[in-house]
Symmetry: C2
């Protein structure tokens, strides 16, 4: 990393620490039992449009999606390292803006920006964040553990995130930690690639199936506002289809005992919308209830960033 | 990450573990006091030429440069997470090849590939590796701590790495751990951007200067083979200039007491070339001795990947 940028980073991000500027950052981990680590790469033209949204929101999203991974494990984030691959034109400005875009989230969740790597090239802007956290002596949530009969609980609302919320969402870190400390959650996932796809991943990792309830899936205002009958609209999807397939909601899906789910709903977290959107089935697969409440097989689909390998 | 690729990764890389495939990897850190973390991003066209070298060597380099960061802290590497940004054409093949290219190094240094992220786009291949390690109750080496009068000890040889060795070097992880366990090393750095530049960074971080000895800097065969007088050669640098400025040697510079340096040299590590290439000065700055051994100020230069921000 270029010296001037490193000095700027130290001043702005870690004035009281000396973690930035060496070949690696040294974090005191003596109080932690585990190290929960996630990494996410975002690219201009795939996960954001730099020209439209600017580097600050791109940087914010880079940290936010990693925080959402911590939330899906009910882990407390501790530190992050950031790699930037910068277009030659405006490199220094983009680098600073991206880091400044991360700062409010870093402060809110007390994540130390511990270091990173910067490079310049002839291609488009790429940002990679790796986040480290811990679950503080409690086992982290995983995708494995959903039991047939479990209720599927979702935070927030779904659909239409790419119209703006994917750049401004608050990761469910605090909600996850609070729920994990009070209730026995069998399994969890964050919805990054689409409700139907991530629900089926949760089921598949747990060796069971999942039935989604079309009546109770909370649909966001952004998804509601799409008009499938409008011939000028690019979208041919219904609001429910947006909720099922759009992705980038960064809400949590949690599987838990019916009894525990009722307890959770009886003791709500202020400001947090929680909905029972389905239940786990013994038979593997993904279903969506029809108008009469009868489960019909459905194909999991979602927003996969590019085709995947 | 696409399911088939994840399953392949699990089979090939972590058959006995369940760290891959969730939103984050959970690593048992209960036996470790610290978490040493480094991240490095490599891009096609900047750090390697995919068409020339192939994805295996690119992947190998992605892990190797991170291992070199661990070596520069005398840290024991433990786990790594890998992000791949893949060109649309041949994405699956490139992803598998890059991971297979990492495997021999991962096995040699017992680094668990704990997870990652893959995406496809219209740009060139990008790979980001984040590595986690620990120093096992011993303080890690840093760049701060070189004292005026210290001798500067270097592993290996310098110059000409971009002609091939940058793709095949063995990171100095074991050597660093062994030296750290036996001797008091004041400060260290790995030479990624050029001997002169990284030596001056070490000095600058320590608040002193450094005098390099032109007579003792070990020059690699690749740098020796360059003929500055050959009118057809693209290079106009002398072998010594290659050694000072080329970069990507991934050797270690270590600052230590003269007395301790003599001890180190008296108890060599089999197969490891060690050279005293200079000494620390009270006055900040960078010098190179001339033919008569008199220090002359020099400008630190190196291989910075693109212009940095």
């Amino acid at each position: 990393m270029e010296l001037e940028f490193i000095h700027w980073l130290c001043r702005e991000f870690a004035p009281d620490s000396s973690v930035i500027g060496d070949d690696a950052a040294v974090l005191d981990w003596s109080q932690h039992q585990d190290c929960v680590v996630a990494t996410d790469l975002l690219a201009d033209g795939v996960h954001f449009q730099l020209e439209e949204v600017g580097a600050e929101l791109a940087g914010r999203k880079g940290l936010a999606v990693n925080l959402s991974d911590m939330a899906s494990m009910a882990a407390q984030p501790i530190a992050a390292v950031v790699s930037l691959l910068l277009p030659r034109t405006g490199a220094a400005e983009i680098a600073r803006s991206a880091m400044l875009g991360m700062r409010p989230l870093a402060q809110q969740f007390q994540v130390l920006i511990a270091g990173g790597d910067t490079n310049v090239w002839d291609g488009r802007f790429v940002i990679n964040v790796t986040i480290l956290g811990t679950t503080a002596h409690r086992a982290p949530w995983t995708r494995r553990g959903m039991q047939p009969g479990d209720w599927l609980l979702a935070t927030g609302e779904f659909g239409g995130s790419r119209q703006g919320r994917h750049l401004s969402f608050t990761p469910r870190v605090q909600e996850a930690i609070e729920l994990a400390s009070r209730f026995d959650i069998h399994a969890a996932i964050d919805v990054s690639d689409g409700l139907s796809l991530d629900a089926s991943r949760l089921a598949s990792a747990s060796g069971c199936g999942v039935i989604l309830d079309r009546q109770t899936i909370p649909i966001s205002a952004a998804a509601q506002a799409t008009l499938p009958t409008d011939p000028l609209s690019a979208s041919r999807k219904t609001p429910l289809e947006h909720a099922l397939y759009d992705g980038e909601d960064f809400e949590l899906l949690m599987a838990l005992d019916e009894r525990v789910a009722r307890e959770v709903l009886a003791h709500p977290i202020p400001g947090l919308r929680l909905s029972v959107i389905g239940r786990a089935s013994k038979e593997p697969g993904l279903w969506l209830t029809d108008e009469e409440g009868i489960p019909r097989p459905m194909t999991p689909r979602g927003y996969e960033h590019g085709a995947n390998p």
